[in-house]
Subunit: 206 residues, 2 copies
DNA sequence: GCTCTATTTAGACATATGTCGAATTAGATG
DNA sequence: CATCTAATTCGACATATGTCTAAATAGAGC
């Protein structure tokens, strides 16, 4: 499992932080009963919509809440699977491992960006709109590919789909950013120097 | 289980809050390996002693950490039982119930006091020194006794010991505060009017 | 494209929480 | 009892987080 952005401790920490607020706990309770729109939640919790949005974002980042759009309103629901998965992790959490965290190495740009789009289980909530941020996500996807071997299109798609359903678009972007190269029908990871660290993207070299 | 001061949601919330900080998570990790003194923790976590004390207090309030004195230093250890117990509760936590919390009824004096002495599992960390606060704890202990029936000394002790080992002292205090009465060898709960709410304690009526 | 509605984002402000130095307490030791 | 040490408590300050209003966005229906 090399997909997660965060270490075990960080994952747990983020999970606990997400749960450590009355409004959010109550929100989970409400969502456990049935889907709710932002407005409904705001009403029941006696908060303003923006505040509810804010809390929902935090819960979504943990994969605890999912949303489905219907017209302009969004129906939010509790993902029980995620809740159970995380709880189970808490339960097993070999307390020993918690100690191994390094004091707090300040996190780099990519990590900071990813924090906003990657759920605890390694799936993406959505793709960033900003080009720079998309870069961070793409670099992160590259963790799944080794240099020096080839991948079929199917393999590439499969790897990407562990994180996001739209493997077609992302696959193209990986090439657009010169992270992957395609020759004939075969994909190959490009050396890191070609795309490392915030550099402007090279032109596609199909 | 009528012992807890807090509702289910509140208990969970306090637990999550306790866990939702990097220093405390790391502290738990360290304590999982072996006992530590405050100094050691301060050293390993790169914090000052007062800060460590502060965090330990929070963990202790949840019953997650226990301490044993040796001379002037105190050795702190993780109570795995407590950790597992709480984790299990998280796991089962019928999310449904979370919703039932009332918005936030401001808490009364007793609750506020109890928060500082009662762990999540209903045991007392220690008895308050201040008379007024002891009153709050004693009133809380009275939850275990019904009016209109009698208790043997053994039953009284047993009930008290679910919260604190020193049943002898506490039993005497319950009588001193006119919450319980003893006739012959039989104990009986006094009507609430006799001791309700912060009133000065009546003189013992053995 | 304009307008209406639900939601989200941005920025300001308030509250809660963590951290520390200084002062205090509690136990040990002479 | 004076003194030493480990720990805790207190109070000040800094940071993090929650909440709000105002402004921006995204979809639906003209």
């Amino acid at each position: 499992m090399i997909f997660a952005v965060l270490t075990m401790t960080e994952t747990l920490l983020e999970f606990f932080k997400a749960m450590a607020h009355e409004s959010r706990l109550r929100m989970i309770g409400l969502l456990a009963q049935r889907e709710h729109s932002v407005q409904e939640l705001a009403e029941k919790l006696d908060l303003k919509e923006p505040t509810v949005s804010h809390h929902l974002a935090i819960l979504k980042a943990q994969g605890l809440v999912t949303a489905r759009a219907e017209g302009t309103t969004r129906w939010h629901a509790l993902d029980r699977t995620a809740l159970e998965r995380m709880s189970a992790q808490v339960l097993q959490a070999p307390a020993e491992k918690l100690a191994r965290t390094q004091p707090k190495r300040p996190e780099d740009y990519d990590t900071k960006v990813l924090r906003g789009f990657v759920r605890g289980d390694g799936t993406l909530t959505h793709m960033p709109a900003q080009r720079k941020k998309r870069g961070a996500v793409l670099r992160w996807l590259m963790r799944d590919f080794e240099e020096g071997r080839t991948y079929s299109e199917g393999e590439v798609n499969e790897a990407i789909q562990r994180h996001h359903w739209d493997s077609a678009t992302l696959r193209r972007e990986l090439i657009g950013h010169a992270m992957m190269a395609r020759e004939n029908r075969v994909y190959r990871r490009q050396p890191r120097e070609m795309w490392k660290e915030g550099g402007e993207a090279q032109s596609p070299r199909t």
